[in-house]
Structures are given as C-alpha cells and as structure tokens.
Amino acid sequence: MNDTLDVVLRLVAVLVVFLTFPLLVGQAEHKVMAHMQGRLGPMYAGGFHGWAQLVADGVKFAQKEDIVPADADRRVFQLAPAVALLPYLLVLIVIPVGPNGFVGQTVDAGLILVLAVMGVGVLGSLMAGWASANKFSLLGGLRTAAQLMAYELPMLLTAASVAMAAGTLSLPGILDGYHWWWTPWQLVGGLVFFTAGLAELQRPPFDMPVADSEIIFGAYTEYTGLRFALFLLAEYAGIVVLCALTTVLFLGGWHGPWSGSAGWVWTLVKTALLAFVVIWLRVSYPRLREDQLQKLAWTVLIPLSLAQIALTGVVKVVIS
C-alpha cells in the first residue's frame, strides 16, 4: 500500500513538473528574447510583466476550432500531437533530480530508455507531415526525418561516451560515478550532445523543417487549436528534457557544494541555465539552410563525437 502511494506521489510530481516547467521556459523565452531584441515582450496578461501570457495563450488555443483536412489520414493526424508530446513525459520520469533516489523511477538501462523514447518524439512530426495531405507538410516531415537521421547518431555516440566513462547505463549510476574533472574531459561530447539535441527539437537555428517563412510551419501547417498547442508544448517540454539530460550526463546533475541537502537545487539551476542558453542561441543565430544543417551533422558533429569516444576509451584504459 505504502509502495503504491509512493509511486503515485512520484508520478504526480513528475506530471506537475511536466505541466509547469515547459510553461516557465516558454515565459522565459518570451521575456529573454524580447529583452535581447531591445523590446519588452508581453506586459499585460496577469499583471506583473505579463506572467500569465502563456495561460492566456492556452485559453486562446482551447477556444479555436479543431480542423482535420478532408483528405487527411484522420486517425494518424489526430494522434500525432500526442505522439510528439508524451515521450517527454516518459523521459522525465527517469531523470534523477537529487541524490538518494530523488527520481521518478530508477531504471537500470535509463540512458537507453531515454534516448529510445526521445527518438519517438520526432515520430510525431513525421506522422503530422504525412497525414496532413499537404505537400508543404510532407516536405517538412521529410526534412524532419532527415534531420532525425543526421542528429540522432552524434547524440547516441556522445551519450555512449558518458556511459563508457561511468561504466553504467543507469542515470543515477552515472551521477554516482561523476567527478568534477569529467566535465572538461567530456566537454566536446557535451557540446555535441546539446547541439544535436537542439536539432532534434527543431529549435532555431536548426528549425529548417518547420521554417515558417519557407515551408509555412512544415509538418504543423494543417494543425489548429489545441493540437497545435500540443506541438508547441512538446517543443518546450523537449527543451526541459534536453537541458535536464545534458545536466545529468555532462554537468554532474546534483553535484555541487552542499549537494547532500540541496542537490536538487543544483539540478534545477543547471537545467535553467541550459534552457537560457537554448533561448539565447535562438535569438543570436540565423536559421541554417537545409544542406548546411546536414553538413554540420555529418562532417562536424559525428567526427567530433567519434573522437570523444576514442578519448574516453583512452582515458578509461589509462586510469584503470
């Protein structure tokens, strides 16, 4: 009985995080992006500096008509947003927040689960692109597919490098084995992982598949109302997951001063900083062209991640 209650409480906590953190990131994006462009951003909704802007947006989305195109593959079209969003909820369950079991659920092969499930998320865009019966959506979907192919590989390789260093696939296990010098040691891997993750989320500057000015929001062209909102939510949930994951794998998660009592604060702070970097990159860089995007993955990120694996192997052999 007590065990069941424990599990339910943990799952509810994860659900609450899943429902609030993406909104926090979204609001931060509104304000940070505005100030980086010399503007103020939303200032009215909710009073103080427009803190309720995203809530108001949600209400607006809920009021809109839910349209399915006549020629669309109805079932697939309607399922796509859920497929895009839910994987991130699953991933959140296994991400360790603090020491001593401060985690939704410990999974032995957590790293594999995380990477596999995150791959499913991109399937949502693919389904959306195919089922919309719209050639621009299809183009966007195909570009998404190509991008997934290109960036999943460096992401997996760099994650493998960390797993090699720790000698385990369990996320809490990786954190248990963490030393401060892992961060400089795995620095290149971390950068590659973060960049590839951005590309997986189709965040600017890697948002060629959704490119609203070129292929009018790519796979999401035909979506309206709540389903469109779910895709947007998936993007922000993806940011939370990617930043938390990068924190856990490369920045030492809850490690830091007073990590015994305030470890979870370290995880949150590092995740928030990375989320800020995500927004910062979006504001600073122009969108990559499709061929540049592919070139970056295949000629820069994959060789770098392979080099990281080699380095990890060498150091591992030397110190053992």
């Binding site: 462009q37 103020l40 990159l281």
Partner: protein
C-alpha cells in the same frame, strides 16, 4: 592574424547578451503618451472666427475632403445713401478624415490663419462616417493646438513684428524731430547763448533730425 574559427559565433552571442542588459527602448504607448513634436500632423483644427469662407482650402485640397457651405448676409450702409455691406457667414465646415491625406495644403494656403495642425491623433472610429468632423468638432480640436514653437535665434523677424517695430521707430523719430525743432526755435529767439554749445555731437543730432523730417 586570421580570426579564430568560431569567434563570429561568440560575437553574436555577446551582442544579444549585451542588448539584454540594456534598457529597452519600447514606449508603453497607451499607458504613457508619446511626446510629439509641436508640428506633428495629428488632426486639423478650425478657428472659426478667422474663417472668411474664401474657399481657398477647399479648392486646394487634393482629396476634396473639405466641405464648406455658407451664405451672404448684408448689413445696412454705414452712412446714409452708401452701399450695403455684405459678408460671408459660415454654415458648415467639415473635413472628412477618411479621405484626408494629411498633406497640410489647406493649412498652408489659409490666408487668415483659420486652420491649424493639432498633434491629437486618437480619433479612430468604428464607423467610417464618424470620421467626417463637423465644425464643432473641428473647433474642439482648436483647444489642443499647442503654442507655436519659439523662433530660431538666428531667424528673420516675423513680418508683422518687423512692420510694427518700423512704425513705432518712425513715430519716435518724428516726435524727437518735433522736439528738436522747438528747441531750435527757442535758441534763435535768444542768440549768443547757445552758440558755444553747438559742437560736433550736436551735428549728428541735427543730421538725424533732418532724416526724421524727411521720413515724416
């Protein structure tokens, strides 16, 4: 030295970060009113008392958005047997701001200073017909017209002031000349007394007197 690869990327990040720490330039318009320069073209105001229904504004308006109706009134002759006096009375003066293109030609051509620019610009309407402002509304705009800005220190004197000043100077000189002549007459009546006083300074005075006389 060639630039370090990737330094451009860092520079881009630095630019956005620096912008974020600076104050934004956004003006919160409906909360804080914009500070408009005094010659802003917001709406056209009518100072009815100055209007003589000469119709110049309506004729020059490229959009034909000014409507003027008037009639003539006759007043009895000032002196018995004289001609009757007639004058124009304004019945309607309206500007259709849905047509107006804010060129300001009407204000430019008005010979009697009856039309003015007001900086007020918040008069949007939900019905386009309400954008035709009749004379009472145009009159209300008149109270929002700011005082004309001060002239540039190096600017030419306004015509009216120059004319008034010249007239005043002329009158002053005429008065001075009259006074000097009176004094001259008094001296001639008592010769020998004033002779030593007639020196160089007095000459200048005498010359100016001559000039004054000529002008008068």
């Amino acid at each position: 030295m060639p630039p370090i690869p990737g330094s451009g990327l860092a520079k881009g990040l630095a630019v956005t970060l620096r912008t974020m720490t600076k104050r934004t330039v956004t003006a919160q318009y409906p909360d804080t009113q914009p500070e408009l320069p005094p010659r802003s073209r917001g709406v056209i105001a009518l100072f009815e008392e100055n209007c003589t229904v000469c119709m110049l504004c309506a004729r020059e308006c490229p959009d034909w958005c000014i409507y003027i109706d008037s009639h003539k009134e006759t007043a009895p002759p000032a002196a018995p047997g004289g001609r009757e006096r007639s004058r124009n009375v304004l019945d309607r003066f309206a500007i259709d701001f849905s047509l107006c293109m804010y060129c300001g030609i009407c204000i430019e051509v008005c010979p009697f200073d009856a039309l003015f620019w007001s900086p007020e610009f918040e008069y949007a309407e939900t019905d386009i017909l309400d954008l035709t402002h009749e004379r009472d509304k145009l009159r209300d705009w008149m109270w929002t017209v700011p005082a004309p800005p001060a002239l540039d220190p190096a600017a030419e004197e306004p015509k009216e002031i120059a004319a008034a000043r010249k007239a005043a100077e002329k009158a002053e000189k005429a008065a001075a000349a009259a006074a000097a002549e009176e004094q001259n007459a008094a001296e001639q009546a008592a010769p020998g007394q004033g002779a030593p006083e007639r020196g160089a300074p007095e000459r200048g005075d005498g010359q100016s007197d001559e000039q004054g006389k000529g002008d008068a």
